[in-house]
């Protein structure tokens, strides 16, 4: 059944062929991105580095939707946790991102599980509401812990991964490598026992429970994975942009991450992530003069993609029925 509907989606192309095309495209785009810094200027390298970090953030939101069936509008909190972990570890202990990024991921996983704990047994919509509170509480927490976080001004992240190598290149390639690694890990998760168990817990909770996978466990694991990825995104964001400050860490940023996730169709592959991350990063950059049109544009894009996803199959069914009529 799923094979048939997939054929219908890609207009009669067999599914494996579609997958091969997507893979070839991913390889081509990866190669282009690897070669990019040698062709383009420094501002592009900087912008794309930030874009890769945001792509990881988009993936973290998509994981939550795909595996958990839940939506978060407070993921910026976990992004901030990762970013500040990198900056504070550098300032206090003088360690580079090589050490602080894994710490950030562990911190993100722990925070995500701790946060999901109170709502582990109740319907998913509450997560959206409590994450909204989380995003709104974040600026208060950052500004009031200014001896650690640097308050409004934020902190610089200046230590390099490889001392001596060109700064711009490092801040481009590390986020790219992290993004590829996350996309690869998510691909592995989809094939693994654990990944399938999580999907089962979402689609058939009763059957999953019969196998010993409780909904609470599944919810906590998904939140842990998602928030770990979000923290990695924050770590990369701090590294790619060399600064951490509360100005970009608002509820709006969280909602924009969700918009990126929707626009990338909640996809968990490298290509989907790049599309979502580019949408989140590049549009405000190019339309900086448009100001208030940006939220309108994001809102329209969000609604457009959702409605197209909903109405598209219906229209196709209607057309198909008319065609198959004798």
């Amino acid at each position: 059944m799923s094979e048939i509907s997939q054929n219908a989606v890609s207009g009669g192309i067999p599914a494996w062929q579609g997958r091969a095309v997507a893979r070839a495209l991913a390889v081509a785009i990866t190669a282009a991105l690897v070669a990019m810094p040698f062709a383009a200027g420094g501002s592009w390298t900087y912008l794309l580095g930030v874009c890769f970090a945001n792509s990881i953030g988009v993936l973290s939101v998509s994981v939550l939707v795909r595996y958990g069936g839940e939506v978060s509008i407070g993921h910026v909190f976990f992004v901030a946790a990762g970013a500040y972990a990198v900056a504070i570890l550098e300032h206090r202990l003088g360690v580079s991102i090589l050490v602080s990024a894994p710490v950030a991921v562990i911190l993100g996983v722990a925070l995500g599980i701790a946060f999901a704990w109170p709502s582990r047994s109740i319907s998913g919509i509450y997560l959206a509401v409590s994450t909204m509170a989380l995003a709104l509480a974040l600026p208060e927490l950052i500004n009031n812990a200014s001896s650690w976080t640097g308050g409004y001004e934020g902190l610089y992240v200046s230590l390099d991964l490889i001392p001596g190598a060109p700064k711009g290149l490092q801040r481009y390639y590390l986020p790219l490598v992290a993004l590829l690694a996350v996309a690869y890990a998510l691909g592995c998760l989809r094939q693994s026992r654990q990944g399938i168990a999580l999907l089962l817990a979402r689609s058939h909770p009763v059957a999953a429970e019969a196998f010993g996978i409780t909904r609470g466990w599944a919810r906590l694991s998904v939140m842990g994975i998602s928030c770990g990825i979000a923290a990695l995104s924050g770590a990369m964001l701090a590294y790619a942009s060399s600064t951490v400050s509360p100005s970009g860490l608002t509820l709006w940023a969280s909602i924009f991450l969700l918009v990126g996730s929707v626009v990338s169709l909640y996809g968990l592959t490298f290509l989907h992530a790049i599309v979502g991350g580019a949408f989140v990063t590049l549009i405000p950059q190019f339309l900086a003069s448009a100001g208030a049109w940006i939220p309108v544009l994001y809102g329209v894009a969000l609604l457009g993609v959702i409605l197209a996803g909903n109405l598209g199959p219906k229209l196709r069914d209607a057309v198909g029925r008319r065609r198959s009529r004798p």
């Binding site: 109170p118 047994s121 909204m132 544009l297 809102g299």
Partner: protein
């Protein structure tokens, strides 16, 4: 003894003003719960739409858009709010029956569009919007009661009372309760669920306008003022169990009082963090709301 007396003198005005603002949170929460109860959609655009209508009242009465008296401006704004609600529901109605999660995400999109529209039409400036209430203030037991307080109390009581009468005794209300209780059975009985949902959206929009009109005089009006009150409304709805109308009314007043006590005795800088704590605590201690035991008696 005198310490107790002075503490009580502090406490009394705090409780009173907490209750007044609590009524406003309750109005916001009721709008969220109306929509959630019958369609399982959390309407994240609620605050943005209410803020937009507050700006419309300003625009219609100040000469920015039109030059009307306050009453006609309010009527026009309510008409606009109802139109926006109907349009929003028309946009997402096909999603509601497929996935409440997708429909909830779509309301974020509507909120973004409305927020952008507010900024585009009225800019990011701060304006002031007053409520034409009689200048009045009396002092009872060390309590200063102003005309504004009494207006809020009267309007909120009348609105919430009217809403409960509407839901308990009219055909529309019965349809709403039926659709909330068991949507499938209600549809089998011939109810048009879309119509019931539309009713909930329209009522919620009107509640939002009333709440926005009453909130704005306490501060000023900017593109984010009303939307920033939404966290309190969400907290009130969560405390009430999110699917209970009386629960959210009680939750609103409770949040108003707790917030007041917290900002006075602990710190005014951590109010969102405090609300986050309240939400998490409420989810853990009474996931079905503070009135869960009394469920089934009403609505």
């Amino acid at each position: 003894m005198s310490a107790v007396w002075s503490a009580a003198l502090d406490l009394f005005p705090l409780l009173w003003s907490g209750m007044i603002t609590g009524c406003l949170y309750a109005l916001g929460a009721l709008g969220l719960v109306m929509i959630f109860k019958c369609s399982r959609v959390v309407n994240f655009s609620h605050g943005n739409v209410a803020g937009f209508t507050a700006f419309l009242i300003y625009g219609f009465s100040s000469g920015t858009l039109l030059e009307l008296n306050w009453g006609s401006a309010v009527v026009l704004a309510i008409v606009a709010a109802v139109a926006i609600a109907a349009l929003s529901y028309a946009l997402i109605s096909s999603l509601v029956f497929e996935s409440d999660l997708t429909a909830t995400i779509a309301t974020l999109g509507i909120g973004l569009v409305i927020q952008g529209a507010t900024l585009l039409i009225f800019g990011a400036d701060i304006v002031s919007l007053d409520l034409p209430v009689p200048r009045f203030s009396a002092s009872i037991l060390g309590l200063r009661i102003t005309g504004y307080d009494l207006t809020v109390l009267a309007v909120a009581t009348a609105t919430i009372g009217g809403l409960f009468l509407l839901i308990d005794y009219t055909k529309l209300g019965i349809a709403f309760r039926a659709a909330s209780e068991n949507a499938f059975a209600a549809e089998v009985c011939g109810l048009n669920l879309r119509f019931v949902h539309l009713f909930a959206w329209v009522i919620a929009a009107v509640l939002g306008v009333v709440g926005a009109i009453l909130i704005v005089p306490t501060t000023f009006l900017s593109a984010t003022t009303v939307a920033s009150f939404m966290l309190q409304a969400f907290a009130a709805a969560v405390v009430g169990g999110f699917a209970s109308l009386p629960g959210s009314a009680v939750g609103g007043i409770l949040i108003g009082i707790l917030m007041n006590l917290f900002t006075f005795y602990v710190s005014p800088e951590f109010s969102s963090t405090f609300l986050l704590g309240v939400i998490l605590l409420a989810l853990n201690v009474f996931p079905n709301g503070i009135l869960a035991r009394a469920r089934g008696t009403r609505v």
